[in-house]
Amino acid sequence: MLVFDALLAGALIWLAWQATHTPGLFRSVISFIVFGLLMALAWVRLEAPDIALAEAAIGAGATGALLLSALGRLAVTHEAGTPWQERPDLYFWIPAGAALLGLLTLAAWALPTPGLGDDVRRVLPDSGVANPVTAVLLNIRAFDTLLEIGVLLLATIAIWSLGRMPMPSAPAVRSPALTALGRVLFPMFVLVSAYLLWRGSHAPGGAFPAGAVVGAGGILSILAGAQPWLTGGVRGPWRILLSLGFATMLAVAWGVMALGQPFFAYPPGLAGLIVLVLELAAGLSIAMSLVALYLAGQPPDHWGPEAARR
């Protein structure tokens, strides 16, 4: 397997170089998508199936769609001259890069090996779930997850504040296969996502991949010409749904404080239920946020035929 690792590492380095340093923006974007794909394999080799799942769902799905449609919307994709600035400054970068690499290696060497595995294993029975990663995310370090959902919400707000959506949302090419694809696959996305959510309590899975999969399904159905359900209207249910994850997590955190527990310390016995509720809320919010992020602007209040084609 050492050969496998070396080959994978070489391919990853080459793809990263392609993505950042070769002419042709489209080539860079494709290289980056393949980079994400191979990163999923690297996570598998590093015994992190949870991250592989998230990378497959978010890296290969959502990021690829975001990059490709942003590329399509750029007014000018032609790069003048080299992709680099005037002089690559090799005299600076080769020694500086080598020094940086050396320092990083030294730092990695000097770090004590993290040993929280035992601690997690000790408190796992009380956390309400059997998968340690889910336990860390939604129970032990739920504070981090709260902030993460907050970042997603903030990103949506930032994008909506940039103004209206910059592009037509209907597909540029009409094809019966595309419409059929959206109709056939969207139920599959929901099904797989529900499966991942259910798996999350005892095996790799959980709210993040599940939400990302539904979000990708939403993006796919928008691409297939479906009218997006997301509207920018003040009264619509979507604003509530977008903030559901953040609101639920805060409510739970304060709720347990009212019961006399510390912030995010769930009362024993209720932990399993609380984690399940949080997962559902967070998954829904992540899915909605991904669709909102993909639209790259505030959607109109009403989706008329002219709004979709504008």
């Binding site: 090419v173 094809s175 296969a177 595309l178 056939v184 696959l185």
Partner: protein, 99 residues
Amino acid sequence: MSLANAIGLLCVLLGMPFFFLGTLGLLRFPDAYTRLHALAKTDNVGLGLVCLGLAILSGSLAIGLKLFLIWVLMLIASATGAGLIGRTALARGMKPWGL
């Protein structure tokens, strides 16, 4: 090694050449249309044989069904993708090789 295992391994092994030939086609064929053709063989037959072989090797119905689902999903993606790319390429005036 039991007979089922041998058959499973044989299926996986039979699926492999399709991947190598797919890459060969991707590299050697003259235009996008012919490359679509090479790719379809990989997605349909290659993946199908590997999934079938692994399903036999696993000996479990649940895993077998999941493998079948993966194959069907890739079939849908590959067929639609090939159709879309071919149609768009033709509409944009890309001339097929040899015409």
